[in-house]
């Protein structure tokens, strides 16, 4: 039962890494949105979203990733997404979002 979402921020020199673990769904996604938008506004850096511990995401969560990408572009910065589990990578493929993001292994 790791249904809650945990968000950990690690500041690197030229970018910020955000580690997600748990589930992003309609209940936890508001917290994700505030956190990611807040980090971008604070750091104005590139962001690496590490999804190693992310077990579940829905369209609400994917929509937030898209929003974060748009915001990053306004600052001239990029978003990379890493370590997606197979079930989540599948959702990026289905929705075509894999073409929008830089997705690392």
């Amino acid at each position: 039962m790791s249904s809650e979402l945990k968000i950990t921020e690690v500041k690197h020199r030229f970018n910020t890494e955000v580690l997600l673990s748990g589930e992003v769904d309609i209940y936890t996604s508001q917290m994700l949105k505030e956190k990611l938008y807040g980090i971008l506004d604070d750091t104005k850096q590139d962001m690496l979203i590490n999804c190693e511990g992310l077990t579940y995401i829905d369209s609400t969560g994917l929509g937030i990733f898209v929003g974060v990408l748009k915001k990053a572009k306004q600052y001239g910065k990029g978003i990379r997404i890493s370590k997606l589990k197979e079930n989540i990578k599948k959702l990026f493929l289905i929705t075509g979002l894999d073409k929008l993001f830089v997705i690392l292994d």
Binding site: D25, Y27, D58, I94
Partner: protein
């Protein structure tokens, strides 16, 4: 497993915090029916997307929405009857919408009847291909 068609019903408040309950119930049913892990996951995701829309819209005429899980020998069918007719309108299928495109990709069938029946129905075969 089940030889005749059986039904499990789950009634949930129109609240974001209980969508995870729909997911767990669905995965329990699908796993018990013999779906493989990937298909169980597909069913969970598709049902969540349906619930997301319902809880986002809410309802004035009822406190809860009812999910019917119909268990066939080699197929799961998930039905939601809208007492509130407005809710059926949430599932217009314009291709640009993330939630709907996910449901359509993961389930074998997905239909919303806005006529007299006012029902959302989706199904997936065991070992059917996506």
């Amino acid at each position: 497993m089940a030889k005749k068609v059986e039904k499990i019903e789950l009634a949930l408040p129109f609240k974001a915090e209980y969508v995870s309950v729909a997911r767990l119930t669905a995965s329990g049913i699908a796993a018990r029916m013999g779906f493989d892990i990937e298909s169980v996951e597909d069913i969970k995701v598709a049902l969540s997307e349906v619930c997301n829309k319902l809880v986002s819209a809410g309802s004035k005429s009822s406190d809860r929405y009812v999910i019917d899980f119909i268990i066939h020998s080699s197929k799961i069918e998930i039905l939601i009857n809208f007492e509130d007719r407005r809710l059926a309108g949430l599932f217009g299928t314009n291709g640009d919408e993330l939630g709907i495109s996910i449901i359509e990709a993961l389930m074998d069938t997905f239909k919303v009847s806005t006529d007299d029946s006012n029902t959302l129905s989706m199904s997936k075969e065991i070992k059917g291909k996506i």
